[in-house]
Amino acid sequence: MSTRYLVAVGNEIRKGLRFAWSERLQILIELPMFGVFILLLGPLLGQGEVVVGGEVEWALDSATTSVMLVWFVPFIFFYMQVVKMFWRLLGEIQAGTIEQVYLSPLPPWLVAAVGRVVAAFLETLLVAAGTVAIVAPFVPIRVDWNAAALLPAAMIMLAAVGVSLIVAGATLVWKQIQFVNDTVLLVVMLFSASAVPLIDVPAWWADASHAFPLTDGVGSLYTALFTDGSVTEPWGMGGLVPLLVVTFSYLAAGIVAFGFGERVAKRRGTLGRY
């Protein structure tokens, strides 16, 4: 990659951070919600049968809550990357600046995604830290940091970039796809939960969940941070093979889908039209 490209990529990162900073109030408003979500959901996990029987023991458990966080933080990144990429792209289309961005010699998918990834990463760090700060006074969080977690973390980021590019490609063509976007988030959240052993899901659910972007990443994170297992085990939930296959499939699909959406929008003449 030439210096020219690196400069432009750094430029997009700077812009992404600039816009993330301009949304700091929104992030601050959202922040407590994530903590409240963990505090409310934590006591219910693994108590499906007693919940049905109407006898919930409303107590927070350190191990359960810690695992929940490891499931939830990747989802926050996914949310930050996919949802905010959609809204930001839509904003650029509405404003018309998208057309100026397309006058860059850089590949447009790179321009669209790169700045958002770094901004989403930093926003996720902030939100994760804030969530821990809110939850920790109620229940201790115990996660044994392990460098092996970097592999699933990187794969989660790449998969999220892939999905965000699919959504971005669709946005270039159809513009108003908020409902599709929200549905994708919900489905990914539900299916990725199957990677957390606290949650019992039917076998078909567990099998199907491998096809979704976060599931094996979360499974691999769980393996690295809470078990003695290895993230290089090829098969099983969070196995290396499904993790790599799914991640790179989503990334490739994202690049293809973005290019396709871009070609359709240019052919229709609607790239900058809302």
């Binding site: 400069v7 018309g96 600046t97 057309e99 100026q100 240019k266």
Partner: protein, 342 residues
Amino acid sequence: MEAVLTENPASAGTAPGAAIELSGLGKAYGRGEHAFAAVRETTLSVPWGQVIGLLGPNGAGKTTTIKMICGLITPSTGSITLGGYDVARQRSHAVRQIGAVLEGSRNVYWPMSAWENLMYFGRLKGLRGSEVRPRARRLLTDLGLWERRHETVGSYSRGMQQKVAVAAALITDPPIILLDEPTLGLDVEAARTVKDWIAHLAADDGKTVVLTTHQLEVAQELSDRIAVIKEGEIIADLPTTELLARHAENRYEIRVAGSLDGNVGGLPAGARVEPDGSGTRVLLPDADSATVYAVLDQLAAADQQLVSVAQARPSLEAVFIRLLHHAGAAPTPEAGGEGTTP
């Protein structure tokens, strides 16, 4: 068609050949019964350093043409080269040749300051910060925005925002500038500033400029060449002076020193004689050359001292309206003044 219509030299550092080449360019939207041709078989060659005005009514295809040149809309037929680079096949090289201010767009980020915008767009096109800074400083100073460079563009007036958009288009010093309605919505003073700046770009910096505007006096003042588009087709394409000359009316004005004092008795029907300061003006509203010569002979015979003879030139607006209503007889250089498309 290779219609090299001006003698402007290519600006320094630009590639040989034409700055912009459109060859058989067409764009159709929709399919079947609903198909609509926005641009039809347009062929145009713009040499380096020329200012060409693309004029036409709303929906004529001007903006579609500009956006196809930018690579923002994919043509249905034909090809575009910018500085010799094919927009479809060599996009990254081609877009380095251009800066654009597009109609109806913000063009720049309103939540960012003018300075941040220029730095962003400079880097977006691959310049280093150290290369962008001095140029951004010069542009903002020249456009009178330096003192307010750190204020967000959203807080600027419409005219100032448009100046930032022009500056952003120029930040990499591209040889080709595309301006789609650059003075639209500006007040008189702001429009004048932008217009002067465009004139400066062409005259002093040797930029190739493609300009679309509904303000025909702006086009007439700035453009070396005018192409009139109607329903997606170029119906006239000539140097501005030649276009106006070809549409000159058979209306002549003869000025003589002193008064006529009844010395000319046989003026043609409809002629008017008016005092003009210390002299006299003879207006011939519908006269061919023979009639003009006959009147001049009479004046000479009466020992009237001739001051000037001039054929009345129509405004570009008058020519434009005439062309739109009589598209079949539109002039192009290749057709010797009687063609329909170049």
